[in-house]
Amino acid sequence: MNSLPTPSRPPLRSVLLRSRKHTILGFDPQKLIKYFFGSNASVAIIVLVLIMVFLLREGIDFLPTYQRELQTYRRAGLEFCDIIDQPLQKNQTLSSSLRQALSASLETLSKTARDRRDAAFLLKRQVEDKSARPRESLAQALEKAPQDPGQIDVLRRELGAATAAAVKAVDYPELFTQAEREQLEREFAALTPEVTDLPPMLQTLVEDFNVKDREAKTKFADLVTAQEEFEEAAEPLQEVLDELKAKALETKEKAVEFEVLETNRQRLLEAAATESDPKEKASLTKEAEESVAETVNLEESIKEITGRTAELREQVEKYAVVIEKAAADLPKDAGTGAARKLVNDVREGIPVHAREMRAAAAKLEDWHWDKPVSIFSVMGAFFFGTQWITNSSWQDFFGFVPLLTGSLVIAAIAILIATPVSVVAAIYTNQFASEREKELIKPVIEFIQAIPSVVLGFIGISLVGNLIKDVSEWSWLQWVPGFPIQERLNMFNAGCLLAFMAVPTMFSLSEDALNNVPRAYIDASDALGATKLQTVFRVIVPAGISGILSAILLGLGRVVGETMVVLLVAGNRIAIPDFSAGPGVIFQPAHTLTGIIAQELGEVSRGSSHWQALFMVGIVLFAISLLVNWCARAVARRFEPHKA
């Protein structure tokens, strides 16, 4: 270009150019505008960094705080008590199984009598409820000091009519014969506020049940005694343990109080050091001196606890011997198959339990009150802890596993439901649907995105929960594990709603992926004589699989991060779901990572360990979302078809 003759008009050109050259503080305004927009573009980056910064600022102190708390937990001897207390919890489970077995056995004899009694009482309550208004009026009128016989008469008649109507309206179960039914009706009709005794028929029914119950208890006397023996076995041990626990708790409270006062004193001294006004300084120093707390001699008080190790071990040994005897005494036969199974479970469970108790007792000797708590064990206690207990009078634990399990199980349910539905819908809309169908399906599915999550949560409480519960009570569906369900609000319910929420994301992204499949692939397949179905499932879907997979991953990210639906619908029970229930586990309630933050953050004070723990959960959630995003991108890149 340089070789070309340059036009001979440089003066005009330079004049034109110069006239435009405004500068602001020595900068070219065009550049400034560009930097303005550029800086706005970096907002996304800055916000991501700020999210990290603020989460870390509030949450990172969690580990040292929790370390201090666990240290106190150990030094005050709470840990010592828990060594025995934790395995002793098993006693409760075993004895409740025994109780269940016992009541199942007793029921074989007394069930009809009990049912008849309960049904009669229920009927009586129903009749009384239905005629409550006139009944109350009459009772009031009767209580008045000068009784008005005319009014009472009117009220009596009213009550009579209401009761008669109620007696006719209630449903009598099949348990009663026609004669009994008539007698009940007669007796109910005679119910007035003055009658305090039970109607005679009910009295007979109660007596019937008591007779049957006694009979049953004599028949299963072995089981009754074994159960009582087992329940009483823990009492002496529990007594010793309770004494130790009270002592440990007292020490802990003193230590915590000391720490609070001490930090307060330090702060006052600090303030005094920086204060310039001598008068203020003197008053601050004085205040600091006054708040000197009584130091706690942890070593002294722990000696009182560890000094009784031998006694405790002895009690554990006694307990183990007694329950082993109880296990041997357990009768072979029980009333029903279910009860027999329960008894067998207990019989097998007791030796295991005894072994655990003995192992725990042996551990007591190795325990040292001043062994430091390492930061790694604190991390372990958080990331692998199985208990999330807050506001406890004993000790707060922040274990992450119950929340994570809840979140993961719900997410798995949601993805398992949403994936087939949204992929099928995407394939159909993209490949088979007519234009008119597309115009119906696409906007409706995209509309789901606009439904606020709290509305879906509300639907879960008010509609889906009852629906699932009703369905689970249908008799021909009883083969489904977990049916009939106990809780309306459970993981399956939440999973269904989250699946519904994830459908639009997964649908649109999958449809995009199918759209992006090169035209040539389809043409080639058609040219080879493939049917439409073959083209779709052997060419288009495999070619778009990367997009579909990344759509599923992004849907997963959305499901794990969703808050309101799980908060409202998942049932909010902070415990690891009982996986021994098999696939029926999905009908149990659970708590989640997102739900716990939303539920508890409003009620904790800033800077407490609980607050910091919730921010730690937030950090983990943030990390999960970044990881899921990264995976989705990696998958999309990995399986990208090589475009010709």
Partner: protein, 393 residues
């Protein structure tokens, strides 16, 4: 009904297994897709059937004005001896009881379920205004950079990655961020910095202290702004990209600067699209609950944001004092915490015992909320369609 295939026609379809399988698979796919559609419609119908009777009535003016124009209140249900239920608020309860005298039987209170939902509606509107204002400013500027200025490189890649990741951050984490950043740390002008202030810069007449804005509309609005930022950026960039390249080239060829090109040849054609797409952002901001739980929302408040008690002015107050108080009242709107519709629904659904009265308030609120959000989303879709028809390059 197709006539039975005859062997005469060599091109007639055959009923072989392949074709049957083809039809069966097609129907399976169709049923799968329509299940989603049906479930969506069923949910809408359920809310409509249960919610519409609360909001509409058969008498003039056909709309339950009380429900839409009153603040939420505690509902008192008084039963008399004849079994009639009288609904009233806390002020009316005593009068009703007095009137009934001996006829009074029982009284039941249901929190938050009386009155109407004006407070939550106003609060949500304020939050949406703040958040959309902030998000539109940042988002459109960002989109202009991405579409008009950016060259391929590290920075652009980082920005795109950041936007993608921001879109995936769980909303409750945004809530935590808003709590840490805006409620507890954001800079504000005060006379005396609070203890919790991170640091403060004395400015002579006042102090710039990083002590946070407390829970208020501003904190919640800013938090929501970052929740919807990715939506706005993506939508705006699409609209800018849709303006034909030729417009820019023509403008540049005429000697316009880059900014003039953007200002006169790109933005005028992209703005309608950007605005309609940002309606989707509004719908999203109005629907989010978790980000405002700790930053702006209150379960109960008996005043509208502008009904704040200010010290009465002396009778001879100057016009300046009046003016100052009006400004303070206006600014006060944004520094108050408010009720918001989604949080109100959460409170009704999860924090109070369920009964018929609570259920009525729940379905009424849900219905109004859904109608608002759905009409926003629908209008966005419709406007976009119309715009597409109008600007066909």
């Amino acid at each position: 009904m197709n006539p039975a295939p005859t062997n005469d026609n060599p091109f007639a379809g055959d009923n072989s297994g392949i074709q049957q399988r083809e039809t069966a698979a097609r129907w399976a796919l169709r049923v799968g897709s329509y299940i989603v559609v049906l479930i969506t419609l069923a949910i809408m119908l359920h809310i409509f059937i249960k919610g519409a009777p609360v909001v509409f009535q058969s008498k003039w003016p056909f709309v339950n004005t009380q429900f839409l124009t009153e603040l939420p209140a505690t509902l008192h249900v008084i039963e008399d001896q004849q079994g009639n239920h009288i609904e009233t608020d806390v002020n009316g309860a005593d009068a009703v009881k007095k009137k009934l005298g001996d006829n009074f039987r029982s009284e039941k209170t249901v929190s938050y379920s009386g009155g109407g939902i004006l407070g939550p509606i106003v609060g949500t509107a304020l939050l949406v205004i703040v958040s959309v204002g902030v998000a539109l400013f940042l988002g459109v500027a960002c989109a202009i950079y991405l579409s008009e200025y950016a060259k391929h490189g590290k920075f652009l890649e980082m920005v795109r990655l950041a936007i993608l990741n921001l879109a995936g951050v769980p909303s409750v984490v945004f809530g935590l961020f808003g709590l840490g950043a805006f409620v507890l740390t954001a800079p504000t002008f005060v006379d005396v910095p609070a203890d919790r202030s991170v640091f403060s810069i004395p400015l002579g007449f006042t102090t710039l202290s990083f002590e946070g804005w407390d829970t208020c509309v501003l904190s919640g609005g800013f938090t929501l702004a970052f929740v919807i930022l990715p939506v706005i950026i993506t939508a705006s960039e699409q609209c800018l990209q849709a303006v034909p390249q030729g417009f820019r080239e023509t403008s540049m060829a005429l000697g316009a600067t880059r900014w003039q090109t953007i200002r006169y040849s790109v933005l005028p054609f992209a703005t309608p699209g950007i605005l309609t797409s940002s309606i989707l952002g509004i719908a999203r901001a109005a629907g989010e609950t978790a980000p405002i739980m700790f930053t702006a929302a209150l379960a109960f408040k008996d005043k509208l944001p502008w009904q704040k008690d200010l010290p009465p002015l002396p009778a001879d107050a100057s016009i300046f004092a009046h003016w100052e108080q009006s400004v303070a009242r206006f600014l006060g709107i944004f520094t108050e915490s408010v009720q918001a519709l989604p949080y109100h629904i959460y409170t009704l659904a999860a924090k109070i015992p369920q009964n018929e009265y609570a259920e009525r308030a729940q379905y009424g609120s849900v219905f109004v909320f859904l109608v608002l959000v759905a009409s926003l989303a629908a209008s966005s879709v419709m406007l976009r369609k119309r715009l597409r028809a109008k600007y066909r390059w």
